[in-house]
Symmetry: C2
Subunit: 372 residues, 2 copies
DNA sequence: CTGAAAGCGCTTACAG
DNA sequence: CTGAAAGCGCTTACAG
């Protein structure tokens, strides 16, 4: 087995004729910073294919791109020549003329620490990658938290290194969204952008509807004093899920039944629960705006000697993997993030094709477990 | 605000002279599949900069690439011309000649479902992305589970769309590793590859040392009957962490003190714990090979009426976010995944520069919480 | 339906 | 230290 750390440049490349059908192994090009020059792989080009198929270079390009007006005979000749030579198109050359890269940026514009622990984020990342793959495009992951990173990402994207961008977890006032839309880069946001820039298309799970669904469920179980722990109210998940709660219980639900967590952590959930227990010791159910917050609530409830769900029913949101590790397991709202990712890509491609695109809101699903 | 979903092609582009210094807004190129033609952004090129700076195109290129032998005067002229024109280099054009893409594939060759829920994975992804950014390179996320995906990824990478690859969670017998190394693509694996292909460089956290550390810790707390729940033994995390346990307790530890989980889930941890409680009801500590497994163990321990840590001390592994949500919070082993990612990129770049590279094993750290 | 030719924007020996 | 020129591998009007 050859050692990949060793140069391939010592081979007899000078006296061996180059056979396109059996290209040498690929070796990275030395950076101009001064690495030694090495032998380069030189795979078969479109010209090799053309020659082999007995057609012109243009014709090969036409079958490559599925252009009309190619005779069946030519097409076939080209196709077999391609497989015989092991041809693979050079994306750089193509991009240089088409100005299409087949790459899409997945931009995370958030202090990354918390986000990357969020299974929702991973699920979304996965589904976007997958959907992109089915369209022969690929995902470039970019971190845009902090001024320096933000500028680099913005430069990268507006320079045309990618065809468009998928935006995740932008917060209110985030300049990325605005500057991208200003630069007329095709963009799709995950979740309705909090800034009122209606030129940005978005795909979102139905936070409000999901919350509604959960509170209805708690009511259907016979609960009559249903409190809620909201997320931070300056986020869509915070405000929308509270709105869903209010949709069911009416706008005049007493304030003492509502506690807002300061962030999305376990600890914040615990604090909020402790607060509720003081203001509303008689509550018999609580809708918590995320599963992680709910784990904090469960701890406090247990410490207070209350049984879940006997004394207090607890409903979460997210259907995070953590929901099956709690005791009792958590009834929660599942967001179909596979669908969200799929649609984000779909909408982006609609934009790329220059067609008008719509916003999409995807229904959620209640997952009944043992906490209600 | 212009509507990005609308074509820009209706503007008076025909009678307005193109001014490179004030490029039109970028608009994606129509795909050859037949979208309508639209006006294209045409940013300033190297020629525009050269003209403005009063030098040749070659000189601009030289300052761009930090080549030697450029007079200070020329350099300065070029630099200011660049910022005046808002020049940004066209990566496709550059790649076409250098055969360097500045892109690196991050290849996940695993049934993705479970992996993407793993916070370790996210942390690694983040640190690699970050480290790459500091080197002006970007990360292309690729999913390689399943024959079809695997082939697509392999084709993509060997076609030179990226300069090299970062490999994650390959399992024994995974053909990706082998085929990549065979194609002489520079590759760095996360974790020692289980197949004996010594040509592959790897960066790993010290699983064995970490396990050793935890078991020592349990002993130091006065525990004398320390059992273990291992992960699946055909994974590095499974076998190496068991080896670390044995390092401390000797190779002759009775089999009844060891239970292997069938996978890394909460449920598998619960099953294994129940088993241990039957075979070794007198155990006073258990080292569990992952935090998620440990949550399962904690549930069973509580159900059995044992107090943690009073009756049984529990040590986990990973320092996953879940470790602070359990009750009691989990003493565990932290893997510095930021460092792992950093070094993976560093090693890959060493390879790309054609230099010999070494393997790297990174020490772990014990995080003491309330379960021990 | 198909060739020949121009051109995408850069880098890099080659000569000064 | 620097220009002029060739060339990277493709796509795409333009003429047939």
């Amino acid at each position: 087995m050859p050692d990949p750390t060793r140069s391939a440049g010592t081979g007899p490349s000078g006296d061996t004729p180059v056979v396109p059908a059996a290209p040498a192994a690929p070796v990275p090009h030395p950076k101009s910073r001064g690495a030694a020059r090495r032998a380069m792989r030189r795979g078969p080009t479109i010209d090799d294919v053309a020659q082999r198929a007995g057609v012109s270079r243009g014709t090969v390009s036409r079958v490559l791109n599925g252009a009309p007006y190619v005779s069946a005979a030519s097409r076939e000749a080209v196709l077999s020549a391609m497989s015989e030579t092991g041809y693979v198109t050079n994306q750089s050359a193509r991009s240089l003329v088409t100005r299409r890269t087949n790459a899409v940026a997945f931009i995370v514009s958030e202090p990354q620490d918390r986000l990357f622990e969020d299974p929702n984020f991973s699920a979304l990342l996965r589904s976007c990658t997958q959907e992109l793959a089915t369209r022969d495009a690929h995902l470039v992951l970019m971190l845009a938290a902090g001024d320096e990173n933000r500028d680099r990402v913005l430069r990268f994207v507006t320079a045309g290194h990618v065809d468009g961008a998928l935006l995740v977890s932008t917060h209110q006032g985030d300049p990325v969204t605005h500057r991208l839309s200003q630069a007329r880069v095709p963009v799709v946001s995950c979740g309705r952008p909090l800034d009122v820039d209606r030129s940005i298309r978005y795909v979102a799970a139905d936070d409000r509807g999901g919350a509604h669904q959960m509170v209805e469920h708690l009511r259907a179980q016979g609960r009559t004093r249903i409190a809620t722990i909201t997320g931070p109210l300056d986020t869509p998940g915070g405000s929308e899920r509270l709105a869903g709660y209010r949709d069911v219980l009416g706008p005049h639900i007493p304030e003492r039944m509502i506690a807002s967590a300061t962030d999305w952590s376990h600890a914040a959930g615990a604090v909020a629960m402790a607060h509720l227990l003081e203001t509303s010791p008689d509550l018999d159910a609580v809708f918590v705006a995320s599963d992680l917050l709910a784990t904090g609530a469960l701890s406090v409830l247990r410490q207070s000697g209350r049984d879940v769900p006997e004394d207090v029913a607890v409903g979460g949101f997210d259907d995070s993997p953590i929901a099956v590790t709690t005791d009792p397991t958590l009834t929660t709202i599942r967001q179909p993030l596979d669908l969200v990712g799929q649609h984000m890509v779909r909408v982006l491609f609609t934009l790329l094709d220059g067609k008008p695109a719509v916003n999409i809101v995807i229904p959620t699903e209640l997952v009944h477990r043992n906490s209600t």
